[in-house]
Assembly symmetry: C2
Homo-oligomer: 389 residues x 2
């Protein structure tokens, strides 16, 4: 079973990749291009992104900072970078990491072949890290490959499921309003406690929103805001939109975001992210058949049964001649170890093919259940096993 989609994100790349939203991306890109063409002078909008990734993940309850936690063996931040890289009109991505994680970050960039990434040293707070990223974009240093963008996106390293659609919306709104940010309805009512730990008042849920990421700003607006803001803001503030309002009188446009924008904060969020990634990956599988000429239609029968088990977008049956090498059980195991390095999970499945139509259907149904559960769970501990339907 092949986890990676076709094209540049294929299985030759180490670690799983996401491709679920590509169709939507293309449509959105076209729309940005046409928006950009309406700019004065007809040139494209220069857009960069800043990703603060200096957090220590104390809420997660694990020693690894959450942006570096592995999901299906690949660090969380790598999924987020991939989501931003897919958007071709983001020219530069500046990631702020602490000195002690700099080498880890460099190795992630190399291993997953991330492009357009520049690293800067994170500050001790989120705002200071963002400010570092902005400075790197502002300064016209010699030898710097970065140049000042017109609009800058600020996103979190721990929101891996950001789509081009919402990035386009905040960038377009920032171009018009000076600032823009994604929002979501509140899940819980927000209350204000009194000093003695009792309820002072509760806020009307319908009149408030959760401020999420991504946000986007005219570069000059947010850079000005960071240059003017106080140490108190840099230490204790959390909201970039608020800085733009306070120091540049820029009222941010609020853009409704999707539930996928949520921030991986707790351990349960890692579980959820893993399941979502599995689900996206599982939409494409490859079944390699080894059946005799006259039994060829068993493949089509299996395909029919599989369709009811799996939400498969693409299903490729390759009817290959049985290889002598594959006949041996131990050789399947060895082969599966080899292809695992290319992120392909290989399992053997023996479907008995009785003449009795009812038994055949039962056998196919069993096979489909086994394939579906292997695809869903992506259990790398079971590669090379010969399963029997």
């Amino acid at each position: 079973m092949e986890p990676g989609p076709p094209g540049s994100f294929g299985p030759a790349e180490p670690g799983p990749c996401l491709s679920g939203q590509r169709g939507a991306d293309h449509a959105a890109s076209a729309s940005l291009q046409s928006a950009a063409r309406t700019e004065p002078g007809g040139h494209s909008l220069a857009v960069a992104a800043v990703l603060p990734a200096g957090g220590c993940g104390e809420r997660m309850g694990v020693p690894t900072p959450k942006q570096f936690c592995p999901i299906l063996e690949r660090p969380l931040i790598s999924y987020t970078l991939q989501a931003l890289e897919r958007v071709y009109w983001i020219k530069d991505i500046v990631v702020a990491v602490t000195g002690e994680n700099m080498e880890i970050m460099k190795s992630i960039i190399q291993k997953y072949q991330h492009k357009r990434i520049s690293l800067v040293e994170a500050g001790v707070t989120r705002h200071r890290s963002i400010f570092s990223g902005l400075k790197a974009l502002a300064e016209d240093q010699l030898n710097s490959k970065l140049s000042k963008p017109e609009v800058v996106i600020i996103h979190d390293a721990v929101r891996p499921f950001v789509e081009e659609d919402v990035l386009l919306k905040v960038v377009t709104a920032a171009k018009e309003h000076g600032a823009a940010g994604a929002i979501r309805p509140l899940v819980s009512t927000v209350i204000s406690p009194s000093a003695d730990g009792c309820l002072d008042h509760s806020l009307e849920r319908a009149r408030h929103r959760a401020s999420e990421m991504p946000q986007a700003f005219l570069f000059d607006v947010i850079y000005e805001a960071y240059q003017q803001c106080t140490d108190y803001d840099l230490e204790f503030g959390t909201e970039c939109l608020q800085l733009a309002l306070k120091y540049c009188r820029t009222k941010a446009k609020l853009v409704e975001g999707s539930p996928d924008l949520w921030k991986v904060t707790y351990k349960r969020d890692l579980y959820a992210a893993e399941s979502i990634i599995k689900e996206i990956i599982s939409q494409e599988i490859c079944v390699v058949m080894d059946s005799k000429e006259d039994n060829k239609h068993v493949g089509h029968l299996l395909e029919e049964v599989l369709k009811s088990e799996l939400n498969v977008h693409f299903l490729d049956f390759k009817l290959v001649p049985p290889s002598q090498k594959m006949e041996n059980l131990m050789q399947i195991k060895e082969f599966s170890k080899k292809v695992k390095e290319r992120n392909i999970l290989l399992y053997g499945l023996l479907i008995s093919y009785p003449q009795d139509e009812q038994k055949l259907q039962e056998s196919l149904r069993q096979g489909a259940i086994i394939i579906a559960s292997l695809v869903k769970e992506r259990n790398s501990g079971l590669i090379g096993q010969l399963l029997i339907a």
Copy 2:
């Protein structure tokens, strides 16, 4: 592998069960009992719980209301009921469900053998459902097995991981303050939008909290509040603590809750809940060995290797004589189907036992990886398979 813990929540009961927090529960119960004994008159505190479960789960993006969504084949609400039932000092649990889901709810209660549950018909809003539940507790109807409690807990059907510890805290605080509720730090900054969809102002995150569940009230306080409150409150309000404040001038005590109290709201939350339940269940496994007398120590070797793979609290090796029936591969398959009905997932594992020490270790390591991944994933599609290490 046996998913259920020993005792009354064992595998004979259909569907998986949770037992992770039992130790803590006992300590907390003892503390409530001693607290209750200090009551005027020395009698125990009468506590009931109301569970509004009339929601339609529109945010989930699935047709089934979220409280009825299956997690490992068992409906979410059943886990929540189990969490409340484990707390022996909660005398009655009143669940408010819509008329159309009444039969489903009854069948869940029967299938999972829930006790102390009374059903009432839910209203069209959350507040109306809670009010229905309170009415059922207040009215001294003929033939009603319910009686008015001193303190009532209000909880959500979609927060399955509530622990006795926090229930005890809110009940104790409610007894003293009249009302109490669990709170959590805000994950996102909360903002207030202006009418034109722009940022009006953002709230200081440190000065606000998310109001979660459970909450508890002196019954007379919350019942009075519901009787007095307006139709507007019943239609558009969300916060019970606010009603107690507004109509009874009762300032609720706020109790810091654990991250586990989160509300299953989106599809990703179902994924997270499933992973958490799997993790709890996976802490107890049973390995049935079939090995020759002189190879007995392979069991202990495997146990050693398994310890590094699994966070197992209890591991029981039963060295049973090999049954003739089990020798046949097809019979393992048939047997696994039978025990699946009792919620036991059975897999076969053949560990080769070479004389070469290095090869033996490799074989054991492979076996441990396979066992660990089966336990972690609880893949019911693969039951009855003979896997080879």
